[in-house]
Every structure is written in C-alpha cells, then in structure tokens.
Amino acid sequence: MKQFFLILMLLASPVWAVQPDEILTDPALEARARVISKELRCVVCRNENIDSSNAEVARDLRLLVRERLTAGDNDEEVLSFVVARYGEYVLLKPPFSLSNALLWGMGPVALLLGLGIALVFIRRKPGALDGSLSQDEQQRLDELLGR
C-alpha cells in the first residue's frame, strides 16, 4: 500500500508541468514539443511523462527538447538525441525493434491465432449444419411442442 501512496503522491503532487516561461513563441514548434514531451518519461517519476511532471529533471528535459527543436532538429532527431543521453528507459513507447517484437507483435498474432482456433471450433461438424436437427434438438423440440 505504501507503494500505492507513493505512486499517488508522485502522480498527484501539484502538477505544474509546463510552465509559462518554457513555452516557445512559435506555436507550431511548441505543439511539436508537447507531442514529443508526451513520449518521454520523467526519469525520477513513476509512469509520468515530462509534459505533466513537475520534477526538476523533467523541466530540464522539456527545455532540452525545445532547444533541439529551435535548433532545427526534426522529431526523430530530438528523440534519438535524448535517448543517446538517457538511454532507452526514457521512451514511453518502446521502439519497433527486434528485441521488442514480442511486445508489439503479441496482439495481432494472438488475434490471428485466436481466429484460426475459433474457425476450427465453429467448423468442427460441418455436416450438422445442413438444416436437419440433431437428435437432442429433435427431442427438445418435441418437449417444447408437448409431443
């Protein structure tokens, strides 16, 4: 439970996040900064992106992102710049790489597999679908009709 409270506290300490003095004057650039910030993790927080975190390091990272953007980096370059310094850990969305293949591929593969199994299950007695009733069904029909 202590952990839980810790999480709540971290999540919940008055979130001041992006401060007025950080905002870039170019709205298009600022919008891109916000999007990138939402994909970067505040390294001292729990499951919080730097955009909504009020930790000091998050602020530093926000300023860094804006600095790179102003310097003319594209979104990819900003992300790889930050990853090069802080490691893979800062990415809230793990990259589509071979080492993450299981993570990303699991959903679609499971769905296809499940569909296959379901299809086999549904088709298991194709003969019984010719419209005639099975013995049980006939019996039940007789019961229902009071025969």
């Binding site: 439970m1 202590k2 952990q3 839980f4 409270f5 810790l6 999480i7 709540l8 506290m9 999540l11 919940a12 300490s13 008055p14 979130v15 001041w16 996040a17 992006v18 401060q19 007025p20 905002i23 939402k38 994909e39 993790r41 729990r46 499951n47 919080e48 992106n49 909504s52 490691g87 893979e88 850990y89 800062v90 990415l91 809230l92 969305k93 793990p94 080492s99 299981l102 993570l103 990303w104 699991m106 959903g107 499971a110 769905l111 499940g114 569909l115 379901a118 299809l119 299950f121 549904i122 088709r123 298991r124 007695k125 019984a128 679908l129 099975s134 049980d136 069904e137 019961e143 229902l144």
Partner: protein
C-alpha cells in the same frame, strides 16, 4: 478491548474458513446432506465474525484510538468524519480487511439467496469460496495484521494522505473490491462445475448475475477512480495506463468477455469449457491485480526484494489458485461437452469474436504492464512502457470490437444471414458515416481521432436504437402495439441495449475531449482578463483561507462568454498541515457540452499567478456513459429469469421470447 475482540473474531473466522473449505466438499462427494449444509451456516458465521472485526477497526478510527498502530499511522483527530471512516481502507492492512469482508459477504449471499441451488453445487461453491477466504484471512493475520497495539500511544496520528481525503477516492476502493472479489463467485462456480464435470444452461443462469454484479461494481469503481484523477491531479487527465490502473482494467475486460460468453452457455449450451476458462481467468486477473498493487513488484523489482514477505505470500496464493484451477481445468474440461453447433455467421460467432477481441486486448495490456519487468529480469535492459504504447497497441482492438458490435448483437442464433442484419442496420451505418465525414471535413487539424471516434459512437448508439425499433416493429404495426412490444422485451435485452449505448456515450466523451481540448498556460495578474477558446476569464483575487485540516490559497476566476457571466470558479491550492503536503484543487464548471477547468499555479515573484485553463468539450459524457453502462448491467441482473431462474434444472424456458 473492542480491538482485541476484533482480533479474536478474525482468528475464529480463519479457523471456520478452514473447516468450510474441507467439510462441505467431502459432504458433496459422499452425498452427506448434513456436511453439505454446514457450509451455509459457516458462511454466515464467517461473515458475521469478519464484519465484527471490521466494525472494531472502524470504531477505533472513528474514536481516534491512537493506541492502535494502524490508526496512529493513518488517521488524525482533526480529520473530517467521512475520511476517518474511509481511512480504514486507505492503507494496506485495512484494505485487505475490506477485501476479506467483501469475500465473506459474497459467501453469505450465496448462503442466504442460493436456496434454489442444488445442494452439492452450493456446498462446493461455498467450499471453494472458503479456500480463497482462508488464504486471504491467513495473509491478513500473518503478514498484515491491523489489530496491533502500541505500548506508548502518540497524542495524535499521522493523518491520511491528503490525496485520499476526497469523496471520489473514499468510495473508489469498496466498489473496486466488490468487483475484484465478486469475480471470485464466478471462479468458485467454475471450479465447482469442473469438480462436478457439468455445465449447463442452469449453471450459466446462476453464474451470470454474479458476473454482472462484479462487472457493474468494477465499472463504477474504475469510473470513480478516473473521475478522481480528472479533478484532483490538476490537469484533467483521466487515464494514465499506470500499472495500478491496468490492474483493475484487466479483470474488467475479462469480466466483460465472461458475461457475454455465459449468454452463449445459457441460450445454446455451447462454449462451455471456454466460459469456465474465462471465469478462472477473470478472477486470476483480480489476483494478479492485487499482487501488482500490494507487492509493488511492477514499481520496482527492488521494492519487492526489500520487503518480500507480503509479495511472496500473495504470489503463493496466486500460484496455488491459478495453477490449481488451470490444472483442474486441463483434467476435467473434456467432460464439458458442447452439444450444439452454429454456423460462421451467427450470434454465437459474434460473441466468440467479442470474447476473442476482449481477451486479446487484455493480453496486450498485460504484456505492456509486465514487459519492463520481464525485460529487466531476462536481459537486464531497463525500459518503459507507457501511455503512448497502450494507445497505439490497445485501441485497434477496441475499434474492431465496436465496428462489429452492432452487427453481432442483432444476428440470429445458430445461423444468420449477414445481409439481412446489414440491411437492418443500414440507416445506422449511413448516419455514422455522415457524422464521421462531416466532422472530418470541419476538423482542420486533419487528425482522424475525432471523426473515427464520433462515427463509432454514433454507430453504436444508432445501432442500439435500430435494434430496439426493429424488434418493436416501429411503423409497421400500430404505435400502441410497438410500445407494448418494447415494454415486454425481457429486461436483459434492455440491459444489453442500455449498456451498449453507454459504451457509445463513453467513446463519444473520450474522443471529443481528446481531439478538441483547448489548453492555455500563462502568468496572470490579479484583475487581468484573458481569452481562451471563445471564453474570457477574469482573475479576481486570491485569498488565504483555513480549512479543517489544511490551509488554502483560494483563487476566484469569473468566466464570460459573449460578455455574459457563465461561471464563477474557485481554484485552490492546499497545504495539509500534518503531512506538509501541498495539493491542487482544480475549479471545474461542468455542463453537458463542455467543462471549464481552471488550475491555480505558483505565485510569481511580481505577485502574478501562473494559471492553467482548459476548455474540455463533452467530457462529462465519458462518465455519463460509465453510469449508463453500469445501469445496463443492473437491468440485466434483475431480469426475471435470474430470479425465478433456476427453480429446477432443465425447466422449460420462460414464455417471454428472450433473445
């Protein structure tokens, strides 16, 4: 004294739970009715004993008895009464006691209202229920005892975390636990059915109301949690894909799958072993959720290693319960013969597809939640999986689900004609497409979220309306007859319609607020006026005000639209004195079309204040949808056939043409 009696009562309850876990099982096997009947008596006794312990602890909180360690650590004499009571479950030990209380409560409900269950089934269900009960009371007594006393009581307590001193969060845990623990009923029924080697329509009718109850309370619990996050965390986020949230979301998804598959068992006596497996899975995810939250293992492997006692205990419960259940399933599932077949296009297939999507979506959430842990243990890589992953990996399955939902829900049983259903739904399809295209053409941002989300929401709600009106033959027969037909629809059909429409409303709220939210961050001088998204905000004042156990800076902002006052907003910053913890209280003005959301930030050196202002369109529909969904579940639960249900196995179905 009271506390010691409570302690004694919980130990007695533990002993009783051990008896109840064994004796009725033997009775059911040997067909000794006395041994079977014992279960009902002990279940009620167990509930009374646990309730007494719970009352004892609650009393200690209410009277601020700081000689009790738990009270000293988590309460304070100045705390408002509501939070003194909710403080009981605002900590680890107390929340486990609540868990056990609800478990015992469900056991007692079976004893009281399970009169129409066949004696051996009832005995076995209660025995399995009591095994879970024994495990968790044992956990409570041996690792998390709430009844410990202090030799030297402090003068006053440590207070409850200020974040938790909130009405939304006061009721969040009880509802969540009603859901988590409610799934233990479906689990117990599944295990009992495996032992008996028999699942039939009657079994499904007994399981369904319990699953519905668990799902409804989980829905409310999750809704309360996200609502709390929305107004308390200060920037209007309502879902974070945090492991703790995922822990409650996974059982919800599986429970949703389960309550759909029990329909198939009930109507068509097929998908039996799958349904039993889902019931096992649903409760397994409740246990996994409890493990994740209680052990802290996901937060950090190290936190777990430093204080492993509780984590290991729950892990042991988890292993025995899930492992044992799955082993039993592997051995006995072949006994559960399904004797009806259905074609690829049929209601059954629709529900299979529903189950598949919900289960795969659950698996995605599960993998995402444990992936950092798995990666660290296996390869030593430290990585994060957060909201952007889940949004991308989870959402497509929900989109698929919603696309097929209206079609699947009107297909006829056994063998259906796809063309006919599509034709019935043509008007809903056209309406959804028109809504989507209209929004797409007006949304200059070019993002697909709003058009797709709103088209899906329209599709769901229109689909429900088309289904109801076509079944009532609106326009084809006199209106009075149509109304009578509507009135005579079984309540579970109304439940289905209402719950599906609720999902549509929630999707509408989520899409609208995500796509169209406007945010403004700035420094404002007192007396200044600023414009955000068609509204003007006048910052009037900030005053220091004392609260009962905190100090507040209370701001006053007036919102205008076209120079008319539309709202007076009072955003607050609080400092709770005992724990020296600051919190923000956003000021929110809610209407059906938008929320105005104002947060007071830090005071700047020149006396101005930082301020965040949001216009959040249609947010409230998210929670209206949640309430409507829950209401739909309740409607289904009170369907006549679950009450008269099961007077005897294999009775003829009700005369009402239940679909």
């Amino acid at each position: 004294m009271f506390i010691e009696l409570g302690h004694f009562a919980i130990v007695l309850a533990f002993a009783l739970s051990l008896v109840q876990a064994v004796v009725p099982l033997i009775g059911a096997q040997k067909n000794w009715s006395g041994w079977m009947q014992l279960a009902s008596t002990t279940a009620v006794l167990q509930f009374l004993l646990v309730a007494f312990s719970f009352a004892a602890i609650t009393w200690a909180f209410v009277t601020s008895d700081f000689s009790v360690l738990l009270v000293a650590e988590n309460s304070h004499s100045l705390k408002p009464m509501l939070y003194k009571v909710s403080g009981v479950w605002g900590n680890h030990e107390g929340s486990m006691l609540l868990w056990v209380l609800i478990l015992a409560f469900y056991g007692a409900l079976v004893a009281w209202f399970g009169g129409n269950l066949p004696a051996p089934l009832k005995a076995r269900v209660l025995a399995v229920q009591s095994m879970i009960s024994a495990a968790f009371i044992g956990f409570l007594i041996f690792t998390s005892n709430p009844f410990l006393r202090l030799a030297n009581p402090p003068l006053d307590g440590n207070d409850l975390n200020p974040m938790l001193q909130d009405p939304g969060l006061a009721f969040h845990p009880p509802f969540l636990y009603l859901g988590y623990v409610g799934l233990s009923m479906s689990f117990s029924f599944a295990i009992a059915a495996l032992i008996e080697g028999r699942v039939d329509a009657a079994w499904a009718r007994w399981v369904r109301p319990w699953t519905l109850l668990a799902w409804v309370t989980l829905t409310i619990g999750i809704g309360l949690g996200s609502w709390w996050a929305y107004y308390e965390l200060g920037w209007g986020g309502w879902w974070f894909w945090d492991p703790v949230e995922n822990a409650s979301f996974m059982p919800w998804l599986v429970a949703a799958a389960l309550l759909h598959s029990t329909i198939v068992v009930e109507k068509r006596e097929t998908l039996k072993s799958w349904t039993v497996l889902l019931a096992i899975l649903a409760f397994s995810f409740s246990l996994i959720g409890t493990f994740i939250v209680r052990s802290g293992v996901i937060t950090s492997v190290h936190a777990f290693a430093n204080d492993p006692e509780r984590g290991v205990f729950i892990l042991a419960i988890l292993t025995v319960a899930i492992g044992g259940a799955l082993t039993l399933f592997a051995v006995r599932a072949s006994k559960l013969q399904s004797n009806s077949v259905f074609s690829f296009v049929s209601r059954e297939s629709g529900l299979v597809f529903n189950n598949l999507l919900l289960v795969v979506a659950t698996a995605v959430v599960f993998f995402g939640t444990i992936w950092p842990l798995v990666a660290e243990i296996t390869t030593g890589r430290k990585l994060s999986v957060g909201a952007p992953f889940f949004e991308l990996a989870f959402t497509p399955f929900m989109v698929l689900l919603v696309i097929f939902l209206p079609i699947g829900s009107i297909l006829s049983w056994k063998r259906a004609q796809l063309g006919k259903s599509v034709k019935t739904l043509r008007s809903a399809m056209i309406l959804a497409a028109v809504v989507g295209i209209f929004i797409w053409s007006r949304d200059t941002g070019g993002r697909m979220l709003a058009p797709v989300g709103l088209a899906l929401a329209t599709w769901l709600i229109a689909g429900v309306i088309v289904d109801l009106t076509s079944r009532a033959r609106l326009g084809k027969i006199p209106l009075a007859q149509t109304l009578r037909r509507l009135r005579n629809l079984p309540r579970s059909d109304w439940g289905k319609a209402v719950a599906h429409a609720g999902l549509g409303l929630t999707i509408f709220g989520i899409s609208a607020v995500t796509a169209w939210e406007i945010e403004d961050i700035r420094v404002v001088n007192i007396g200044d006026r600023f414009a955000v998204g068609g509204y003007e905000f006048q910052f009037n004042s900030v005053n220091r005000m004392p609260g009962k156990n905190y100090m507040a800076d209370l701001g006053h902002v007036t919102a205008f639209k076209n120079d008319q006052i539309v709202a007076e907003l009072y955003p607050e910053k609080r400092l709770y004195q005992v724990q020296r913890m600051p919190t923000t209280e956003a000021a929110i003005d809610t209407t059906l079309t938008r929320d105005l959301y104002v947060v007071l930030g830090d005071r700047q050196e020149d006396g101005a204040w930082a301020m965040r202002t949001y216009i959040k369109p249609f947010t409230v529909w998210m929670w209206i949808g949640v309430m409507v969904m829950s209401f739909g579940g309740l409607l289904s639960m009170t369907d006549r056939r679950y009450r008269v249900a099961s007077t005897a196995r294999r009775k003829l179905p009700d005369a009402v043409p239940a679909e």
